[in-house]
């Protein structure tokens, strides 16, 4: 319900929603041409944390790029490891044993819950609620301790290798994960939904704000919770099944309202779906090796390869072009928030400053992933 007003295009001033601003969660600058508190034109300016990952990929061998993948989207790093491992395994034709596939799914889903919890905390921080951040980080800390037990690092994992994973999971990890899921299921209705989701101030703050129609999503290539909040039933784990996802039954939360509240609800329900997947994966965890046989120095066949993975923010694509050598000839990283943010200019027009920031929070941006 943004109030329809006539924007006076002549009396505007330019406000830099800085590269350094509390609500951009990273180094993103949005040049806002404002008329009073209404936004006439919003134009994101990128590149402040650009590190040229694609040139690094061409410089080193295939396995040497694995640590870089975690440095792009550090909130859902395991999905990036998974995406890169998938595309190279497809190129080199490496088999991954059953147990390794299950471990990959369990760790990726745990990391997805951690990413959604952090998004929820940061989103409420943008809206002015400080306390929920501490509750969400309390839960997220449990996940990070679990993942630290098996991967060795807490945020930027390089846990997956071509053909499997590098450490096996032990019983303490399994019992820890089950306890964590039981604890989070107990806290979700009270601390997350009663305190925040049903709160009238929050509902008024994000309901009917930031409309993205399905057609806009298609034309701008927005995927993930942003598309699912606009009624598009597109989840790569369901539409383009990879790894062992077809063996789990989980449903994809889709909302038709197309506003920030819909995107908010999609992510919270995805936390519950991820918990369902983890439980089924833990029940059906097979024994066996965790590392398939992969040649030490990979030389995949020349050709064009593409793999897409569902991260917490959308579809992460790896376009790999090989010329038969031991280095990737070209690796294009299709980052989900790069396209999700490209529709910001069109949607934020005529919005209030406070709504524009609530809308940017609902897009769940991670700036190093946009800039690569």
């Amino acid at each position: 319900m943004t109030v329809p007003i006539q924007l006076r295009h002549d009396e505007t001033f330019v406000l830099n929603l800085g590269p350094q601003h509390p609500a951009t969660h990273g180094v993103l600058r949005v040049k806002l041409t404002m008329d009073g508190e209404y936004i006439v034109k919003a134009e994101p300016v990128l590149g402040y944390v650009h590190r040229m990952h694609e040139k690094m990929a061409e410089g080193g061998t295939f396995v040497q790029f694995m640590p870089n993948t975690a440095r792009m989207d550090y909130l859902h790093a395991l999905a990036y490891n998974h995406g890169y491992a998938l595309v190279v395994e497809k190129a080199a034709g490496i088999e991954v044993p059953e147990r390794a596939e299950y471990i990959r799914v369990i760790t990726v889903e745990l990391n997805r819950i951690a990413s959604h919890l952090l998004w929820w905390a940061a989103f409420l921080l943008d809206l002015g609620g400080f306390t929920p951040l501490l509750y969400a980080f309390d839960d997220r800390e449990k996940i990070i301790d679990l993942l630290e037990r098996i991967t060795g690092s807490r945020l930027t994992y390089s846990y997956m290798r071509f053909g499997g994973v590098c450490n096996d999971i032990d019983d303490e990890f399994i019992t820890g994960t089950r306890d964590f899921i039981k604890r989070l299921r107990g806290r979700l209705p009270r601390l997350y939904h009663d305190l925040v989701t049903h709160n009238i101030i929050l509902i008024k703050r994000i309901k009917d704000i930031g409309f993205i129609t399905a057609e806009q999503c298609r034309r701008y290539g927005a995927t993930g919770p942003v598309a699912r909040g606009s009624g598009i039933n597109y989840d790569i784990r369901k539409n383009e099944p990879y790894s062992v996802y077809p063996e789990f039954d989980f449903d994809v939360p889709v909302f038709e309202e197309c506003d920030s509240m819909a995107r908010y609800m999609v992510r919270l329900q995805e936390i519950e779906q991820s918990m369902r997947i983890i439980e089924q994966a833990l029940d059906k965890l097979p024994d066996g090796p965790i590392m398939g046989k992969a040649p030490k120095m990979l030389k995949p066949e020349a050709g064009y390869y593409y793999s897409a993975v569902e991260t917490a923010r959308g579809s992460l694509g790896h376009r790999l072009v090989c010329d038969g050598g031991k280095n990737p000839y070209k690796l294009k990283l299709r980052s989900p928030t790069f396209s999700n943010l490209s529709l910001y200019g069109e949607v934020a027009e005529g919005m209030l400053l406070a709504d524009a920031l609530a809308f940017m929070g609902s897009l769940d941006l991670v700036i190093p992933e946009i800039d690569r």
Binding site: D145, R149, G152, I200
Partner: protein, 150 residues
């Protein structure tokens, strides 16, 4: 008009439940870990910076200066060299420098070492005022460990 009244009632009800939840949280025990007084223990697979493994009895590094870790490292932060051993068989390590400022803790060096000469240390609280503090000499560190083991 009914939107007006329902807003007021459901709204105030949700505000009150919010207050009760934070009140209940107010009286619960503290969750945070008081860092300088309570020190966290690292999990067995934790990846601190890499360090050399010494032979159990003699304390000599197992490293045979094959240079596999140097080639495996994506950011070239390991530099090592050795000299021929007196007895003429294999090499002895003389210098092993790790430039920890560029290391991304990916574990490729530890995996590429076939002689069980490298492992991850459990050091987590590294802080320094100067970049050169992080260019570490692993041999010296191994000798200190052996000395304090006696």
């Amino acid at each position: 008009m009914n939107g007006y009244w329902s807003d007021i009632f459901t709204g105030s009800k949700s505000l009150v439940t919010g207050l009760l939840i934070t009140a209940r949280e107010f009286f619960k025990p503290v969750v945070t870990e008081q860092y300088p007084y309570e020190v966290p223990t690292m999990t067995p697979l934790f990846r601190g910076h890499i360090e050399l493994i010494g032979n159990a009895e003699t304390g000599e590094p197992n490293c045979v200066v094959c240079g596999m870790c140097q080639r495996a490292c994506p950011s070239q932060c390991i530099s090592l060299d050795g000299k021929k051993a007196e007895g003429g068989k294999g090499k002895v390590l003389t210098r092993y420098i790790l430039d920890f400022t560029k290391c991304s803790l990916c574990g490729l060096c530890v995996e590429s070492c076939n002689f069980n000469a490298l492992r991850f240390s459990k050091v987590y609280n590294l802080a320094g005022f100067d970049k050169n503090d992080f260019v570490m000499d692993m041999l010296k560190r191994l000798e200190e460990q052996n000395r304090c083991k006696q």
